[in-house]
Symmetry: C2
Subunit: 352 residues, 2 copies
């Protein structure tokens, strides 16, 4: 029963000999082809089971041109959002019978060889969350008609993209701050030129201008904890002291909180802080961050659907999906006097 590796490992031919039928019959029987009689089918399946037969994925991929592999280009692991996304992705890909190859992680630009491996392994598709050189990857994918979907990235060229509705989330947080009476609001933006940061920022700016408020100051935090920390220090030391900070992602928000506290400021009594993403640490009691939760599972599911559709129909037109996030009200920000009304209003307009 225990099969061996390499030579001696049972193949479809081993089974065909044992069952006294041809290899093609075995192949068909194993995948439940209806042309095969019930009797033959069960016999073959039973023998395969006894031998511990496992189909060779490479041989199969070679002829079918489908590998069951999808490539993943992952963002910075030091932003917990990406690991959390990886988690969801592995689970859901597995459930669909797909395996995930992690081709790249971090902020460094994609090596050409990384992109090429998509082709060498004949991957069925790829999901990209990393920022740099995504356009090059997109071009390769398009040329080779390899399904690709960007997550949390602006749709480049004409490839698919799915993200949280960042603008809506930004608006929701902005309106929440304004309703709570904040007028001196600082924005800590992320890595420049990322749609995620841009859209969230545009969202809050829109929300503020609705009440004729302008952001007090704008800093960049590079989407890292350290960047948030530096921004927090700068805000306290600067001439314009805000009464609320909107960090465009949670990891920076945590840095902001720590910096503000180092200066003896209490949160939210002295200053409110909100983030975006709802990473796990946002709910830690020390931070208890008001934020917008990215609907990771829904986003991943959607991304896989898009990939799936394009595996079947490579020329399907590109689609963009924006899924609204969920507002998480915690204690890092002052609350509006009439919270229920504020929330109701946001909900009615589909912002959360």
């Amino acid at each position: 029963m225990p099969t061996r590796h390499g030579p001696g490992r049972p193949t479809i031919e081993t089974i065909s000999e044992a069952a006294g039928v041809s290899v093609s019959t075995v192949s068909r029987a194993l995948k439940g082809n209806r042309r095969i009689s019930e009797r033959t089918r069960t016999a073959v399946v039973e023998i395969a089971r006894q031998l511990g037969y496992l189909p060779n994925a490479h041989a199969r991929s070679l002829v079918t041109r489908r590998s069951g592999l999808i490539g993943f280009v992952m963002g910075d692991v030091y932003n917990p959002f990406y690991p959390e996304m990886l988690d969801s992705l592995v689970q859901r890909a597995t459930a669909r019978g797909l395996r995930l190859m992690v081709l790249h992680v971090g902020r460094k630009p994609l090596a050409m060889s990384t992109i090429e491996s998509l082709l060498q392994y004949q991957m069925d598709g790829c999901i990209i969350t990393s920022a740099e050189l995504t356009s090059k990857a997109a071009e390769v994918c398009r040329t080779h008609r390899l399904p690709m979907v960007a997550m949390n990235r602006v749709p480049r060229l004409n490839n698919c993209a799915v993200s949280c509705d960042n603008a809506a989330g930004g608006r929701a947080l902005g309106e929440l701050l304004v309703a709570a009476g904040h007028r001196k609001i600082a924005i800590v933006a992320g890595a420049p030129n990322t749609s995620t940061s841009g859209d969230r920022e545009a969202g809050i700016v829109a929300a503020l201008s609705r009440s004729k408020v302008k952001p007090l100051v704008r800093l960049e935090g590079g989407s890292t904890y350290e960047g948030g920390l530096a921004a927090g220090h700068a805000l306290v030391q600067g001439s314009k002291r805000p009464d609320a900070v909107f960090a465009i992602n949670d990891i920076m928000a945590l840095g902001v909180v720590d910096a503000l506290r180092e200066h003896g400021l209490r949160i939210p009594e002295d200053i409110s802080v909100v983030g975006f993403d709802d990473i796990h640490a946002a709910s830690w009691s020390n931070y208890d961050l008001t934020t917008v939760a990215q609907p990771i599972d829904a986003m991943v599911e959607r991304a896989l659907d898009l990939l799936d559709a394009r595996m079947k129909e490579p020329d399907a037109p590109a689609e963009n999906a924006f899924i609204v996030g969920a507002l998480r009200i915690r204690t890092s920000a002052r609350l509006p006097v009439d919270l229920p009304t504020t929330i109701e209003s946001l909900r009615e307009r589909g912002l959360i």
Copy 2:
């Protein structure tokens, strides 16, 4: 120049026609076989370049029985240690021309189909960090002579394992606490039956008993932030109030710190807290955790070396590697009056 996917994509045969030589010559030329004349070789390589030829990994794997793939079974993403390890692993595997397939993530037991995919894709090896059902996976790997190395796990059966020298690290932290004058020391252990937790605990217990101190109390925190938080609360509310807490990993230590602070305790003035791992968040200003850094890069490098050796010689005997970690002194724990001497002593005995 832009190659297409599927039919029409240049193969070794396309090149052979263009170059007027046989496919075997092309194959040899491309991999720099010395039997091929310089003239032929450069001609072939040039044509391949022009056509944008990329070898088909599946075809190659089919015949060579080497796939260039290694499987990774990853622990809980909510413990940042594992994502940080993934980062290192992807970088270093890529540098060796290997690709990483993430087969599983999280604490749930390994599905049989997950283990089987190791065989279907003819992976060259696998690295396992997850706890549950590792023994089943180890058995499969052994049966099929598939190189496997466990990371941060006890060596089961006779497979390879590499970990931080957890016992040494535990000792170092224990001695540090004792030298700082602590006598009422609480231990927050991790998931039961994990060697990581057990070894670290054994280490600190040994260190304490060296000074005739016994742990004041022992709790379990399940290796999660929430578990650490609960343990922290329990410590304050319990009858025996410690003056120092040793959490066997950082993620729990963060929870402990947050819980203690909720009760108004100052760290380290009222109570010292140390962890283990040196995850990124351990250095956040809010925590600034004294801890032992796992030498992730060295561990990963070692694991890949072990894998490599067993790809070449599948019957090589199992090896276990323990790499000493580095003590990171920060501000979450009181310091010994004579810190340099303490450190020197630890270093002399190879504990850090």
